[in-house]
């Protein structure tokens, strides 16, 4: 891998060395991809020869993590430009791949297809939001940031808005959104490591953490970039193979993206049949009955609890009197011990049980019809009309927040500092979106194909003939998959199965009947997705602290080597802190990830884009705009999101503005941020002449007499 450690250390480059460097990269990664294919084939042969499953898991985990660590060791560096921006010589196409891996997290790889499976059209908000945001990156930010050419996003805020206050707000906001995001990634790493090898969750977290750290710790952005390219290749191959296989199996066509429209039609027809199916209705009626029973109990908790206790005691007595088998008596005693301890506990448990049963007492196991755009009905009664409008509004608001958030996440924007030129930064965004597009184009197909398989093959199977993977996943984690013969007819109804979104991608190889080695590869792909994103995020946080806070604000005379060293130490501290939080299994991880987008959107996008497109925007406008936008976003989330309400002890009734869900809180923050920057800037003096010239400077890739702002 000589291509990853070119001899020169400085930022100067000549035309010939850039081209030669790219050719060398092509060669290295072609060999790498070939090597990976051989590795998988060898493992497949070993599996046929009887290699046990958990060994395949170990080998995949060890081989990939060692590979990433190896790249990290080979790319180690202490040079500032190498450490912070990979020496600014990453060719557009490779920066595109690295951005793709940086971008696609555990949520994209594992969670997305599952969300689409569960929510149908509604889930497409994520597909559109997480791709369309790159239009904003390309048109409003990437080329200009590259021309500015420093190390971090707070760097730009500090220079453009003339002072340390905007920089400091930038640092805080960058840490806020990156930290919430990185906790979710490390959680994902722990989950996959546990699945792959069967080690304890906490141990899994720290194993994965080792893989993240050895890479970013030694070589900073340089190591992270070349590792991310390697991780992208693994994750995209791992995502495609099972989907293509499933598509061939169902339709005979190996291009699932082109063909799944027809599968969607079949799913829609089957949905109609399932909604009218008397057996499904039977299951729903049973769940409804159970929910009603709980409601009955909740009316008088005290009496109901006493009755329950008395009944349990009586049952044990009766069993004993009838000389029943010991196992029955033990079971009855267990049931007695499992009763709620006091009224408080009983109320809580029964309310939860009522909600759980109500959720399952719905057609299609609570899933909306896959192709139905929005809930409700625009031509129905007033209630249906309102439902429709709110549902549609929330879809649009979510798309908006995800898009603007995409164009404001510091770990993504930072990547466009690493290309050799403005021109390459522009085409690099094209490559980024292209590589992301490959996966996002496929996820909805995967969701439909899996749904078809479950609706037509699995549903209606007798319980004793269910495929082996159902039982295996149910034992791994009943929260992810559980089946129970509710109406006792011996046949699986859709309503009798509960499926968690995170299982869909991981179980696809087994659903398609592929060998276990492919399951191992998919898990390794998920690991690559989580590790690569965690790498980029940790680097962003450590750089915000070491470069922006320490070097730019506390000790501007610090020598390069000390800055890089401090950054490395901070990286370790932040990683351990994130691992500690992730090990607590915080309640609502998916919400945290989406919240990061709203935070980033409200804090950064108005200040960054106006900073480039409106010379008149000044320091006080930016400060108040960023604080105001972020402030209202956080306020709305804290007052409306159940988990945050609990943490902050908010007890006032939930008041939604225009029915917008807390996940899309950025929809209020972004416009407010823009408005505040404009109004406050106009009320205060225009920025200095030098600042206005900086704005001119970033707008043109090169001008005669250009004074470079680039830091090498």
């Amino acid at each position: 891998m000589a291509g990853m450690t070119p001899e020169t250390g400085g930022g100067m480059f000549s035309a010939s060395s850039n081209a030669a460097f790219k050719q060398q990269l092509n060669k290295v990664y072609a060999w790498y991809t070939g090597g990976f294919a051989v590795f998988v084939i060898v493992l497949a042969i070993l599996e046929q020869m009887g290699l046990p499953r958990n060994w395949i898991g170990y080998i995949f985990l060890a081989a990939t993590v060692l590979l990433y660590a190896g790249i990290g060791v080979m790319s180690r560096t202490n040079d500032a430009a190498e450490y912070y921006v990979a020496g600014r010589r990453v060719p557009a196409i490779y920066n595109g791949m690295a951005t793709g891996a940086d971008w696609m997290s555990a949520a994209s790889f594992i969670g997305m297809a599952g969300t689409l499976y569960l929510t149908g059209y509604g889930g497409l908000a994520f597909i559109m939001g997480w791709t369309g945001g790159y239009c904003l990156v390309a048109l409003f930010l990437a080329p200009y940031l590259r021309k500015f050419g420093q190390f971090t996003i707070p760097d730009f805020l500090g220079a453009r808005y003339d002072g340390n206050l905007p920089r400091l707000i930038g640092i805080l906001a960058a840490i806020l959104c990156s930290f919430t995001y990185v906790v979710a990634q490390i959680y994902g790493v722990g989950l996959i490591t546990t699945r792959l090898t069967g080690v304890a969750f906490e141990l899994g977290i720290f194993l994965g953490l080792g893989g993240i750290l050895v890479c970013s710790f030694l070589g900073g952005m340089r190591a992270v970039t070349w590792t991310q390219v390697a991780q992208y290749i693994i994750l995209i191959v791992a995502y495609m193979i099972p989907v293509v296989w499933l598509s061939v199996k169902q339709t005979g066509v190996p291009v699932p993206q082109a063909i799944y429209g027809y599968q969607l039609q079949k799913v829609t027809e089957k949905e109609k049949a399932l909604i009218d199916d008397p057996k499904e209705k039977e299951v729903i009626a049973i769940f409804k009955q159970r929910a009603d029973d709980m409601g009955e109990k909740l009316k008088d908790v005290k009496a109901a609890l006493e009755a329950d206790k008395a009944a349990a005691a009586k049952k044990i007595e009766d069993l004993k009197a009838a000389n029943a088998p010991a196992a029955d008596i033990t079971a009855a005693e267990k049931a007695q011990a499992g009763l709620p301890k006091d009224e408080e506990a009983a109320k809580k448990a029964w309310t939860a049980a009522k909600a759980a049963n109500e959720a399952r007492a719905k057609p299609l196991a609570g899933m909306p019809r896959h192709a139905a755009q929005f809930a409700g009905d625009p031509n129905g009664d007033q209630k249906a009309k309102d439902t429709f409008n709110t549902s549609r509004l929330n879809f649009l608001a979510l798309v908006f927040c995800l898009m603007v958030g995409t164009a404001a996440l510091p770990h993504i924007l930072m990547r466009y500092y690493t290309t050799p030129s403005v021109k390459q930064a522009r085409s690099s965004v094209t490559w980024s979106l292209f590589f992301i597009f490959l996966l996002y184009f496929t996820a909805p197909a995967l969701a439909v194909l899996v749904k078809y398989e479950i609706f037509t093959v699995l549903v209606g199977t007798p319980f004793d003939k269910l495929p082996a993977w159902v039982g295996q996943w149910a034992t791994v984690d009943p929260g992810l998959l559980s089946v129970a013969d509710i109406n006792k007819d011996g046949i699986l109804q859709l309503g009798e199965m509960r499926i968690g979104g995170d299982i869909v991608v991981l179980a696809t190889p087994e659903i398609g009947g592929l060998p276990y080695v492919i399951s191992g590869m998919v898990a390794a792909g998920g690991l690559a997705a989580a590790l690569s994103t965690a790498d980029g995020l940790l680097l962003t946080i450590a750089n915000a602290l070491s470069h922006d806070l320490y070097y730019k604000m506390i000790d501007p005379n610090a020598p390069t080597s000390r800055r890089v060293m401090i950054s490395k130490i901070l990286l370790l501290v932040v990683a351990l802190a994130a691992a500690y939080v992730a090990a607590q299994k915080p309640a609502d991880i998916l919400f945290l990830v989406s919240a990061a987008f709203s935070f980033a959107a409200a804090a950064f996008f108005p200040a960054l884009s106006l900073g480039i497109f409106w010379k008149r925007a000044n320091k006080w406008g930016a400060v108040i705009g960023m604080v105001g936008g972020l402030g209202i976003t956080m306020y709305y989330m804290v007052t409306t999101q159940p988990w945050l309400r609990g943490i902050f002890g908010v007890t006032s009734p939930i008041e939604l503005w225009y029915g917008i869900l807390p996940i899309s809180a950025g929809v209020f923050g972004v416009p407010l941020g823009f408005a505040l920057i404009i109004v406050v800037s106009l009320l205060t003096p225009a920025p200095r002449r030098e600042i206005q010239e900086l704005v001119e400077h970033v707008r043109y890739p090169s001008r005669p007499g250009d004074v470079s702002t680039q830091v090498n």
Binding site: F13, S14, A15, N18, A19, K22, P91, Y121, L124, A125, I127, M128, T131, G132, Y134, C135, A138, L139, F140, P143, Q257, I259, Y260, G261, Y262, Q263, L264, Q265, A371, Q373, F374, P378, F388, R392, F395, L396, V399, F400, M403, S421, V422, K423, R426, S427, V429, T430, L433, F434, F437, F441, P444, F613, E693, R699, Y700, P701, S702, R703, G705, D706
Partner: protein, 87 residues
């Protein structure tokens, strides 16, 4: 550093193309999604708006960014603001 007339034109053209492309982006993203229920006709098996949200809009996004990069790189040349060091 004074701006020449050519520089001003360059920036104006940049603003124009940005506005046009953003308008396309807006229509594809928000207008189509707003009328999703009405755009329900069959499109190679998919309901049209489902296809737009899952594939059509993504293709258009890639094309928007690709076109912008190409257009701006040409504009750099025309107005003499292209960088010299290139591969």
């Amino acid at each position: 550093m004074e701006l020449t007339e050519s520089h001003r034109q360059y920036w104006q053209k940049n603003l124009n193309i940005t506005a046009v492309l953003m308008a396309v982006w807006f229509v594809v993203t928000f207008v189509v999604s707003f009328y999703a229920r009405d755009l329900n006709f069959n499109f190679f098996g998919w309901p049209f708006s489902f296809w737009m949200a899952s594939q059509g809009s993504l293709i258009i996004y890639v094309v928007i960014i690709w076109f912008y990069a190409r257009y701006m790189n040409q504009l750099d040349q025309e107005h003499g603001v292209a960088e010299v060091e290139e591969d």
